[in-house]
Assembly symmetry: C4
Homo-oligomer: 137 residues x 4
């Protein structure tokens, strides 16, 4: 038995895998400008998903705006015992979402996962970062 198997067992020891299946992030706004070398210091917003369970997670990510129709759903898969960090800037399938606008994100997963949000803003030479665990239930 590998360490990975042990961990999967531990993560489900209480009878349910760690996390929630629905996550919401209300405060998105990707800055359009950047300073510093690409791609490390480009302004971006990232959703970070961790799947601590032993089954692959299949998610749908939908972006909602202040005005107009939502974008997506964007499909997303996260292998068992893996993380996946997705830059909103990099979404292109089925189409690139508009940047420079207020938006929120709704995620629905088939199995429990944990989601965190990270922003890097390099408009003013010094990068400003922020992060928060998003709302899950």
């Amino acid at each position: 038995m590998t360490n990975a198997d042990d961990e999967a067992d531990a993560a489900e020891a209480n009878g349910h895998p760690i996390g929630e299946t629905r996550w919401v992030l209300p405060g998105g706004h990707v800055p359009v400008d950047s300073t510093g070398p690409e791609p490390e210091l480009v302004s971006h917003e990232t959703l970070c998903v961790l799947n601590a369970g032993s089954e692959a997670a299949t998610l749908e990510m939908t972006l909602q705006y202040a005005n107009g129709r939502e974008a997506g759903p964007y499909p997303l898969t996260v292998a068992p015992e893996r993380v996946r960090h997705v830059r909103i800037n990099d979404l292109i399938d089925p189409y690139a979402p508009p940047l420079g606008r207020d938006y929120g994100v709704v995620l629905e997963s088939n199995v429990p996962v944990v989601v965190q949000w990270r922003r890097q803003d390099t408009r003013q030479a010094a990068n400003a970062t922020l992060s928060t665990v998003v709302y899950g239930e």
Copy 2:
């Protein structure tokens, strides 16, 4: 059936819409000074509300201070499947709240929503941002 309808169905698939009806943010303090071009880089604090449900959300936002009477309530509506980002600096109806003071925010909504807080502080040339999902129940 549109994607918007699908999403609304998904968001309510577990028998209740995503979110909470009461939200509290204790740590407000809008910086009075700024550097950089307006309005993108003005110091500000923003409440971000996402309404993932299929009904319009009607909220009342009240500001509480360390001393003296509260400000508001400020009315706020968020259309179904929309976000709304409200700068505290921009509140004027029924009257502008005082800035440069410690404050907290209490939000009450008629339907479940999710609320996040974002601050941008450009007093020192480099902007400092922070964000947190506020307390909901």
Copy 3:
């Protein structure tokens, strides 16, 4: 009936006031150095308490460290429908806690309140701020 009365009623409408009575913040570390004018831009860490209820809140705040005995308890009161932002740097009664060390905070309140943490770090000319709603139950 005043607005304040209305709000107090609303905050308790579901049969219980908003918040929790026990709060924990594990990640404290007040930076010792600062740049910029005092007191606005001194490096500091602040606990922000909001009491949305109609009764005064009486809290005890205890600081725990990586080594050695805890500091406090520090008494704290928050009037009904008021916030109180307390800089860790400013605690002096019964004695000033040590700075420049890792610490955590445990708060116990007689009535439900909501607590948020804010840090401002001006060691490197550009201030860096962060904030999070602390863990409550």
Copy 4:
């Protein structure tokens, strides 16, 4: 009876110690570069654990990545009524985890604890900090 005893009693007064036994942080990524004097201003990510109970906490910390096998488990102990702040950069036993990659953290504890995450990024002369209470259950 000492203050420490009182606090332990208070922390367990509701019949259970404060916190959770499983914690998840999805959004790790230690920046590889730094500016400023060591060790205070080296870029780092830190997990902050507070054990408010009266028993020692024994934890296992596992790092999960986007690709490849997980790292750890890293053992961790936190004495009663103590905090412990662990820099991911400093983990070496059983082996140093890879840096400069997206990762997540799963913590399992034998007793309830509270966990917070802190990041300091000094790649661009001004340090950028962020923090969030991680997901616990």
